[in-house]
């Protein structure tokens, strides 16, 4: 496989407490990859570490290769040619990521100057084109407004415009729709899907919303307690989740069709990274766990159907079939 980014054994520790326990992840050019998991599972930390955006107290080891270059431990100057230019990132809360006292047009122009050396009228014209591309109506007039004069959804569009300024090969979207209203969420998802079609940039979509991930991603990685527990093509993995945690996430979502039923929560809570259970970190919450699960941690292994899975007693294929039948009927 042609690879744009290659992450190998990426580990992160804060104050000596490991929170990311060796992530192996590839992103192909133009691919849409989803990263799913609950808060604290390490899905954001993976990319903040890759881009050198973690505070100094974080200890990052392993390797993140972008083309021929190594990002882990790279000097600041080298990272600055990557951040925003080759890999851009947008965040959950756009209004806190934009500068409230600088006009939005100038903020986009600044990105254009840094990444593409555009200045003056050329930068302004390109900034307006980007604003129109992300769906800001009446862009020439609104070029000179401040962020508080835009709604939350429009601020997210502006963030995306700024991210596009460097013509990145990869856009990391970290919970980009979580803070937005339902109808606006739908618009932003549509925008991200359209931009990927039009520009051919790869997208990593970090989200806890399985529905949103299903709609815009081709491949998905499910993370739990700092490790990838299951990964594979979206349709296969979502139709037949095999890791009990993936399956549990689906069961916990209320359905929009069919009879109302009691939800099936995952018992317990996410473990404290300072006191991870021995063996499989999910074992204490897992309904399928055997004694062995709390002794030995299962490795992430390739499966015949193209997914990777880290579980000693996964949801069997047969039961996965009946699960999808039941799903199709409701």
């Amino acid at each position: 496989m042609d690879r744009l980014v290659e992450i190998r054994d990426l580990r992160v520790a804060f104050d000596g407490v490991p929170v990311l326990h060796g992530i192996d992840l590839d992103v192909a050019p133009g691919e849409a990859l989803g990263l799913v998991g609950e808060s604290g599972c390490g899905k954001s930390v993976t990319w903040l570490a890759a881009l050198g955006l973690l505070p100094a107290k974080a200890r990052v080891t392993g390797s993140v290769r972008l083309g021929a270059g190594e990002l882990v431990g790279a000097p600041r100057e080298a990272l600055e040619t990557v951040r925003g230019k080759r890999i851009a990132m947008i965040f959950q809360d756009p209004s806190s990521a934009l500068n409230p006292v600088i006009r939005v047009g100038r903020q986009i122009c600044e990105a254009l100057r840094l990444h593409r050396d555009l200045r003056g009228a050329a930068a302004k014209a390109e900034a307006i084109r980007l604003m129109e591309m992300v769906g800001i109506p009446d862009a020439p007039r609104r070029f000179d407004l401040y962020t508080h004069e835009f709604s939350g959804g429009q601020c997210q569009r502006l963030m995306i415009a700024m991210a596009l300024a460097g013509r990145p090969d990869l856009l990391i979207a970290d919970e980009p729709t979580t803070a937005l209203d339902a109808t606006i969420q739908a618009q932003i998802l549509e925008l991200l899907a359209r931009l990927r079609r039009e520009t051919g940039m790869a997208t990593v979509f970090i989200s806890h919303d399985l529905g949103a991930v299903a709609q815009i991603c081709e491949r998905v990685c499910v993370m739990y307690a700092g490790r990838i527990v299951e990964a594979g093509p979206v349709e296969r993995l979502f139709a037949h989740p095999r890791h009990p945690y993936t399956r549990g996430l689906f069961d916990a979502i209320p359905q929009m069709t069919g009879p109302r039923r009691r939800l099936v929560p995952i018992p317990g809570t996410v473990p404290d990274p300072r006191a991870l259970p021995p063996g499989c970190a999910f074992a204490p919450r897992c309904t399928r766990a055997h004694d062995a699960c709390s002794r030995a941690r299962p490795d992430l292994l390739a499966q015949p159907d193209g997914r990777t899975l880290a579980c000693a007693y996964p949801v069997p294929e047969a039961r996965a079939d009946s699960f999808s039948m039941e799903r199709a009927m409701t």
Binding site: S151, G152, D181, T183, L210, Q215, P254, P265
Partner: protein
């Protein structure tokens, strides 16, 4: 529908005044605009809408926490007393609220048992000797272990904290519980635990519940009836099953179709143009018309009345409600 009426709101209006800058003109925001609703004992009413739709303000008004400029709230048939008066305080033991962020709703310097017990002390429920046992039974009822009573809020997880808030709200045996986005701040797996807890309470206590949320999936799972709000007004109301299966108002239709469902392609959705308008600059006529795919001439000039196209349902739309349908009382 034989159960007694617990709560009734008639034509509630809440206006916020704001000024742009020091010398700017005062603008009025009608956060809640002539909202009427009824809740029977044991029933759960879901209120859905996007930010700025007035759903949280409405929730606060139902408890008298936010004064109404117009309209009345009747609790068990009696008008709600004024905020802060002794009668209102006494009544508050019968109506409680659960907030979105449990950490800011709890006192971080008190143990959780002390906080669950506090309403018992305030409302003098039981003798002081009985209260520790009652506190312990409340903790068990919401799925907390009695030994967790000595913990402080920061020592608990988000889901456990929300359980503490719910236990505290239930301490006085309320008849009405208003929940404002109670599970929005929680992770999916924990969300399900709290939703199940609320469902159990519905069954056990005959508790009337107003459940305010932007998450339609959760509302569908909990509510008997649903009211959809847009810019301060109810635009559609009806049984939860029907609202989600056959929404009639174009806004509800877009809202329901905007929920990402695994397996449904993106382009199968109704994608609304634009954003919810600023409540301070409400469009004339139907407030939804600038985004509405069905808008006609009339929609731009006249506010549609809430009509009853079939018993139990109400829709405020010139196009889909049917002009012949009777106007909701």
């Amino acid at each position: 529908m034989s159960r007694p009426l617990l709560l009734e709101a008639r034509d509630l209006v809440r206006i916020y005044r704001s000024r742009r800058g020091l010398t700017g003109a005062v603008t009025e925001v009608r956060a809640v605009d002539e909202v009427s609703l009824k809740l029977r004992a044991g029933e759960t009413l879901g209120i859905v809408g996007e930010s700025g739709s007035g759903k949280s303000t409405l929730g606060r008004m139902l408890l008298g926490l936010d004064p109404a400029q117009g309209g009345t709230v009747l609790f068990e048939g009696m008008p709600l007393p004024r905020f802060g008066t002794p009668i209102w305080r006494r009544l508050r033991s019968r109506m409680q609220m659960v907030w979105q962020d449990p950490l800011s709703a709890l006192d971080r310097r008190l143990t959780v048992a002390a906080q669950i017990r506090e309403p018992l002390d305030i409302h003098r429920i039981g003798t002081p000797e009985e209260r520790p046992a009652r506190t312990a039974s409340l903790m068990t009822a919401v799925g907390l272990r009695a030994d967790q009573g000595g913990r402080y809020p920061h020592e608990l997880s988000g889901g456990q904290r929300q359980r503490v808030v719910i236990a505290r709200a239930l301490a006085t045996n309320p008849a009405l519980l208003v929940c404002d986005e109670p599970v929005s701040a929680l992770d999916v797996s924990i969300q399900a635990q709290v939703v199940n807890l609320l469902r159990d309470l519905q069954g056990q206590k005959g508790l009337g519940m107003v459940f305010i949320s932007h998450d339609l999936k959760v509302v569908r799972n909990l509510a008997d009836r649903v009211a959809v709000m847009y810019l301060g007004r109810i635009v559609e109301e009806g049984p939860a099953e029907q609202i989600f299966a056959e929404p009639r108002h174009p806004y509800t239709q877009a809202l329901v179709s905007s929920i990402p469902v695994p397996g449904r392609p993106l382009d199968a959705r109704i994608l609304l143009q634009g954003e919810p308008p600023n409540p301070a600059a409400r469009p004339p006529g139907c407030a939804f018309h600038p985004r509405c795919p069905l808008a006609q001439g009339l929609c731009r000039t006249r506010v549609p009345a809430l009509r009853v196209p079939e018993p139990g349902r109400a829709v405020a739309c010139h196009v889909t409600a049917g002009a012949q349908s009777p106007v909701a009382a």
